[in-house]
């Protein structure tokens, strides 16, 4: 962990600094409103190669190939997008032992209006658990840098994927008028 990571004040600054400190150079995403400040900041930083994929599953394929080529990669998605990737996890990431770093903006809880998001939110953790994929829900900013930093190191050392579920308690989530 770097000084930058500990000095950062916003959650997205901490995530960016921790990715950078761990040499995660490739970030592929499917856009999300809550992740927008993180996506913008990553685009603005020449350290990263970053671009949108058309589908979350495609993003998983791209960072898997990058790992094979020796580059660490992360994917960013929202909760409903997670529903597109279980096959890629079960057939590619897990059996090929790829340390995919998966950041999910948690929707479907704490004030969600969209039933589709809510249902994926309820099934996401059981799916990850059944695949034995490490998944950590992050709610507190004071734990964010520690969790992300240590988990990236564990993912690389053990060649296993990790999923970071960023709770609205951390990010503020998406706000709707009731």
């Amino acid at each position: 962990m770097t000084d930058t990571a500990t000095r950062a004040t916003a959650w997205h600054e901490i995530v960016l600094a921790t990715l950078k400190a761990n040499d995660v150079k490739l970030v592929v995403y499917v856009p999300d409103r809550v992740f927008t400040p993180l996506i913008k900041a990553i685009h603005a930083d020449n350290f990263f190669t970053t671009f949108a994929a058309t589908r979350e599953e495609e993003a998983i394929g791209i960072i898997s190939g990058a790992w094979m080529g020796g580059v660490r990669g992360a994917v960013l998605m929202q909760t409903s997008g997670f529903a597109t990737i279980p096959n890629a996890l079960a057939s590619l990431v897990v059996p090929s032992q790829i340390p995919a770093l998966i950041f999910v903006s948690e929707r479907g809880t704490l004030g969600e209006f969209n039933l589709g998001q809510a249902l994926v939110c309820k099934t996401m953790r059981p799916v990850l658990d059944s695949l034995a994929v490490e998944n950590i829900t992050i709610t507190r900013q004071d734990e964010l840098a520690f969790i992300v930093d240590r988990s990236i190191k564990q993912a690389v050392a053990t060649q296993a994927p990790v999923t970071f579920i960023l709770s609205p308690l951390l990010t503020g989530g998406k706000v709707f008028e009731a």
Binding site: F51, E58, G65
Partner: protein
């Protein structure tokens, strides 16, 4: 899998290109540690049967992800040439990846699409694009992918349609309409540039299309 000898094409299809034969020719051309990603099903099995290499990745199960994986390798290792071997059926499952590739425009990526118009491994059911090729073809065009005849207008990606089948990409190519496209060195090396394939028709194990990116490294293959 037992490797079929290259000359084992029967008289009934002697004028149609054979996917396994082309895969073997392609692998034989690799002299610079090129990475090859085999797509799901027979594309993968043909790659395995063409001689195992540590630079090959034999993908199982992740239908449609051969090209995204190859794109990731190409981004990670810009000095290495990367080749994806994909079928038309699985490409249809992840057509959006063509837009992503067009946007990134890596010069070291070659995508080979074995376009036989069928899901051969599951019993040769026709693919959705086989009977009405226009829609996926337009999609490829929307992704700024063109066939060799229009390459000057499409600087980012060139595609060359080698054979018969549904014509997934490239309006100039379907062999059943007499088209042959314009083959570059890689296409000629792989296909042998024989005119014998021109009058073929869709059938099992035949009918590849090659999507090829602009770039000098392609010419070194």
């Amino acid at each position: 899998m037992t490797a079929k000898p290259a000359g084992a094409i029967g008289a009934h299809n002697a004028k149609v290109m054979n996917r396994f034969d082309l895969t073997k020719r392609l692998v034989a051309q690799l002299k610079h540690d090129e990475a090859v990603i085999g797509g799901i099903g027979n594309a993968n099995f043909d790659l395995w049967a063409s001689g195992q290499r540590p630079q090959n990745f034999y993908m199982l199960g992740s239908m449609g992800l051969a090209i995204p994986i190859a794109l990731g390798v190409a981004i990670a290792q810009p000095r290495r040439h990367v080749i994806a071997l994909e079928g038309d059926g699985s490409l249809l499952m992840q057509l959006g990846c063509l837009a992503t590739v067009a946007e990134r425009a890596p010069k070291n990526l070659t995508m080979v699409v074995w376009d036989n118009g069928i899901y051969q491994i599951t019993g040769s059911q026709p693919t959705p694009g086989a009977g009405a090729a226009e829609r996926p073809r337009r999609h490829a065009q929307a992704s700024r992918i063109r066939n060799g005849r229009t390459r000057n207008r499409a600087r980012r990606i060139r595609s060359v349609h080698l054979g018969c089948g549904g014509g997934l990409v490239g309006p100039g190519g379907p062999a059943d309409r007499g088209g042959w496209g314009r083959l570059g060195p890689l296409g000629r090396a792989v296909a042998g540039c024989s005119p014998a394939g021109r009058r073929g028709h869709p059938m099992e194990g035949t009918g590849p299309a090659v999507l090829r990116l602009v770039g000098r490294r392609v010419h070194q293959v």
